[in-house]
Amino acid sequence: MAIPLRLRAAVSISIFALLLILPSCSAQDIQVVNAERRIDLTSHIIKVFLTLKVENTGASPASEILLAFPPTQVDHLAVVKAQVATGKRKKKTYTPLDVNPKELPDAPNGTKYLSISLLNPLAAGEAVTLEVLCILTHSLEPFPVEISQSESQLVYYHDSALILSPYHIKQQITFIKTPTTKVESFTVVDPTHRAGTELKYGPYNDRPPHSYSPVIVHLENNSPFAVVEELVREVEISHWGSLQITEQYKLAHAGARHKGVFSRVEYQSRPGHSGVSSFRHLLARLPPRVHSVYYRDEIGNISSSRLRLGALKSELEIEPRYPLFGGWKATFVIGYGLPLEDFLFESPDGKRYLNFSYGCPLVETVVDKLTIKVVLPEGSKEPSAVVPFPVNQYLEKKYSYLDVYYHFNPIFMLAEPLMLTSVFFLLFVTCVAYLHIDLSLRK
């Protein structure tokens, strides 16, 4: 019953910075009329919503707008998405724009730039409103670094009260949303106001390009700091109708390290006060019509998981073997099967292609290192991967897709069953032959 070695065309993709050099254009002709920044610190994944009203004051039309980031921040930048609103009021539609990294020769203090390519060049005197979403990871620094079970977790957030920009900003304002009302301290850059869970810096008027005013916010954040240090996803294609996915996780709690005793009696009896920064549940959003889901680790099955199947998405709620406190780690494997027809298509030129979500299905987690392997069936030829990365993406990617193209002849589908039947056939033939042949020397 020999099954030949599978052709493992493993397409491993690690994400590196795609540093594209674009022709530079002058920055001084553009100014920002109005900038509003909302920083959401409620989870360990920081979302920054930036609304920029940009005006071209120069003579020539501008085709790109630059965003500037301090070098410390650009390392933690996971996703940058930009869009432009067209139309008025109710008929407003948003069009996504391309964002690409860009290097300028005279960047002060190592400032890094991203350029947003506009759909239509901005004519002289015209203004446009851009909306930018930036996602930052690993940007909350726990302080104190070690906490005991009864303490809650405090973190530092470093940023600038003024938006770093290569342009002149006429008016700007920054809102920081904290998870709780407990804020230990924050840098005051007048005018600064704090109300409830919101911290307001600004408005500031007429700031020159590359203005920077560092602020530190020391706040309480007990959201689960779930970081997947390494994730290996393996997608195995079987033309018999299923797609088998195996995901190997190395999970860690990246918050303040747990110090001293872990007391089960306190954790059990006072859940609101003890171990508030620890977490024990994770939610994985899987595609609909998922089947044969398993959740295990090196030493066996983990019995604490729940699966909810839905028409649009399936939700798998998993619980590691033990609650994760700061610095604790857990490794596990999730595997599931998916119907092939939802992900594998045939392109017009006769190639087959797999269109599959790239990122990690766990909600509210950061993935530090991601490897994807695509296992193609035996007999496939010329595999090629198309990875449309619009930006520098080091980390989690939810909305981009991985396309793998390859040639496949359906006749190879029959290889395995044929092999199996022939083995059995030979076995029976040998048996029949053995029973009918008399090998004894005596008569």
């Binding site: 007391s263 099955n301 019995s303």
Partner: protein, 743 residues
């Protein structure tokens, strides 16, 4: 007198047996009348039925052992299998030479253990070969699945072996019944369910293989069968320490044959070939080494070997002398001098230390009370306890009654082969009575002897029935040994009554056998299919609650402690901690160093400050205890604690058992002894337990495993701190604090 047994065994093999089978097969086949249209000959029909029955039994033996996989998961069970799994993993990853030279520094810290020289590699090598074979055939299996399914696979092979063995000692019918009985016998299933990856899983197969090949060699007198049995013995030696049973039973059997005057050239060839080659092969196993010539346990085999030579010499001289009187005198002289020389050699060998005395385990087999008085570490293991009657009933059920009946049939038709099975049955039954775990060794013998009883009884009854319907033909079926009863029956005048009686008895037999099947299935599913790592209980609403605390704790150790951390726990959990937690342990289930275990026992039974000194000297970083007070799990460390005290006290007299007892009674509540309430084990088990309400309507600190409120609720730890406690408190891990700064 020698040739007497040959025709019986000879006929059973070469041609379709005229007496036992031919009256039976048409009877069996009359129901399969439709087959005749296919023009199969009687012989072919019989072969077809036999092969299909064997195939079904083969599958059944495998399938009935899968309860645990279906109910839980494909996992390794219990304690020792985890060590075997870990070593197999090492073997498949690093190869045989690395495995053979493996010095394991992760166990028995700081001593370490030479794994290659202190284990029986048969099981690991078997599993690794299966794994490599499957890999070669392009089956992408995980080594864990191979390990989990090794025991059921070998159990299936054992059924086939039981068929051949039954065929060799009685007839094909008995062989088939034996295969069916052993396939589902709980005594064997207890050690061979899926996941029970232990030496016994393959060893029972190897044991039966050796015995079968040896009996075959004795029956045929063929060198090749003797050689085969030597290799069977080699496999057994490589797989399990129970090979000592073979190397003592076979000489005993040979001795019995010599005494009963059944000495023959066949026996001479079989024994000499098997002993010499088997011994040489066994010396290749490092753990066994030169024990065959140096250890007292193996001397019986050597003595019998020399005795055989004396017999051969005498036989030759008898042939030469042909004078009875002279020969008698010579016989007396030689036998006396031979025995004398043997005794002197043994005495000198023992005195000079060349031959080692019997080990404690061997003594405890011969004298069940020996371990209790001298070696608490052997007595503390539950599977080493003397067997209760109930467990015989549980494991054998009707076989217990069929066994004496089978012995009766064996004695009625005495041959070399039946003498062997009788001796195997009787000795192993004795050992099964001494130790619970040895029921396993007795199981094949009990199944074979019971199969003879069942087969012979049913055959006699069906002969009676057939003799009635075909009265003129019964004369032809007279030839066989069992035909005697039939012919007598046919002549008897009360024939109708006898026929009804036979029918009633047949129905009775089938009723009993079907009861056996239901019993075996029930026992397998209820008692022997729990992995003991994962505990299952019924919740308040009848739902199944899973306590996965062991793996929770071991996985926590694996992930959240430094890789070189040393964990101290009672030796029961050593293998599991190294295999699942991947951390160094102080002692484990390979109880080779009693002093080291006693040191841990002493630490557990001392006050915290004294224990701290011991733990510091052993570089202990974490202490792990198992506690069942919250869940009512009774095999926890508090219930094992008296053994720690006894083993610790056996080496260190400062630990005295009476200090922990109150009027000879073991208590943990308010009336407990003060030393008990303040020793390390008590403190670690009950730390902060006094704050917890375990059961509604009970005071806090109510221990559900022992049903009492604990005596010391205010436990302060000075040198240790709680590092982790599992969700149901079954495993508690403490961190040993570093010493205080001196300034």
């Amino acid at each position: 007198m020698v040739g007497k047994s040959e025709p019986i065994n000879g006929t059973a093999k070469s041609q379709p047996p005229p007496s036992p089978l031919s009256p039976k097969s048409p009877d069996l086949l009359s129901g399969y009348f439709s087959f005749k249209s296919l023009k199969l000959k009687t012989k072919q029909q019989e072969l077809l039925i036999r092969v299909s029955i064997l195939c079904l039994v083969y599958v059944l033996a495998f399938v009935t052992r899968l309860f645990s996989v279906l109910r839980y998961e494909s996992m390794i069970h219990e304690f020792d299998p985890y060590f075997n799994y870990r070593t197999t993993l090492f073997l498949t990853e690093k190869g045989f030479y690395e495995f053979w030279n493996w010095f394991d520094s992760e166990s028995w810290y700081p001593l370490g253990r030479i794994i290659g020289g202190t284990l029986y590699p048969g099981l690991m090598v078997t599993a690794a070969l299966l794994y490599w074979g499957l890999r070669f055939l392009r089956f992408a299996v995980h080594i864990r699945e191979v390990c989990v399914l090794t025991a059921p696979f070998f159990a299936s092979n054992t059924t086939i072996l039981a068929y051949f063995f039954g065929k060799e000692i009685w007839d094909t019918g008995a062989g088939l019944v034996a295969a069916a009985l052993i396939a589902i016998c709980p005594g064997y299933i207890s050690r061979s369910v899926a996941g029970s990856y232990d030496n016994e899983g393959v060893a029972i197969f190897a044991l039966l293989l050796t015995f079968y090949l040896f009996v075959k060699a004795v029956n045929t007198g063929s060198l090749s069968w003797g050689l085969a049995s030597a290799f069977g013995y080699f496999y057994m030696v490589s797989a399990w320490g129970g090979y000592v049973f073979i190397i003592n039973l076979i000489p005993l059997y040979v001795l019995v044959l010599l005494i009963t005057g059944r000495y023959s050239m066949r026996l001479y060839v079989a024994y000499n070939c098997m002993y010499i080659l088997g011994m040489l092969l066994a010396m290749q196993i490092r753990f066994v080494g030169f024990q065959h010539v140096q250890s007292g346990e193996h001397m019986a085999a050597m003595g019998v070997f020399f005795l055989m030579q004396v017999f051969y010499l005498l036989d030759w001289l008898k042939h030469l002398l042909s004078d009875t009187k002279l020969f008698q005198a010579f016989l007396r002289m030689t036998v006396t001098s031979a025995v004398g020389v043997g005794a002197v050699a043994l005495g000198v060998g023992t005195a000079s230390g060349y031959i080692s005395p019997w080990t404690g385990r061997f003594y405890s087999l011969l004298d069940p009370t020996y371990a209790k008085d001298h070696i608490p570490i052997i007595a503390s293991v539950s599977e080493h306890q003397p067997t209760a009657w109930s467990s015989f009933m549980f494991d054998f059920q009707i076989l217990l009654f069929l066994f004496p009946a089978g012995l009766y049939f064996c004695f009625k038709r005495l041959s070399d082969a039946t003498i062997f099975i009788v001796m195997y049955g009787l000795t192993s039954m004795y050992f099964a009575g001494v130790m619970v775990r040895l029921i396993l060794v007795a199981t094949p013998a009990v199944c074979l002897i019971s199969a003879i009883a069942v087969s012979a009884t049913i055959k006699n009854l069906t002969l009676l029935l057939r003799a009635k319907t075909k009265a003129p033909q019964s004369a032809s079926g007279k030839g066989g040994s069992s035909g005697k009863a039939a012919s007598k029956g046919s002549l008897d005048q009360s024939q109708p009554f006898q026929k009804n009686g036979a029918i009633a008895l047949l129905f009775g037999a089938f009723y009993l056998l079907s009861k056996y099947v239901t019993h075996c299935t029930w026992v397998t599913s209820e008692a022997y299919s729990s992995p003991s790592i994962v505990l299952a209980a019924r919740g308040a609403h009848g739902n199944r609650v899973i306590f996965d605390d062991y793996r929770e704790a071991y996985f926590w150790l694996r992930q959240n402690t430094p890789p070189d951390a040393k964990v101290m726990s009672w030796w029961d959990y050593g293998y599991q901690i190294t295999a699942m937690g991947n951390r160094t342990v102080i002692v484990d289930n390979n109880t080779w160093n009693n002093t080291h275990i006693a040191t841990v026992g002493r630490a557990m039974s001392s006050y915290e400050d004294e224990a701290y000194e011991i733990m510091r000297s052993l570089d202990v970083d974490y202490v792990l205890v198992v506690f069942g007070g919250v869940t009512g799990y009774s095999s926890d460390d508090i219930n094992k604690f008296l053994w720690m005290v006894r083993i610790g006290g056996g080496v260190f007299p400062v630990i005295k058992e009476p200090d922990y007892l109150v009027n000879g009674e073991y208590r943990v509540d308010k009336g407990a002894a003060p030393k008990m309430l303040n020793c390390l084990m008590y403190k670690l088990s009950y730390y902060r337990f006094g704050e917890l309400t375990t059961e509604y309507g009970r005071p806090p600190g109510y221990d559900r495993a022992r049903g009492v409120e604990i005596g010391n609720k205010d436990i302060k730890l000075e040198y240790l701190e709680e590092a982790f406690t599992t969700s149901n408190w079954i495993v508690r891990i403490y961190k040993v604090k570093p010493p205080n700064n001196r300034w």
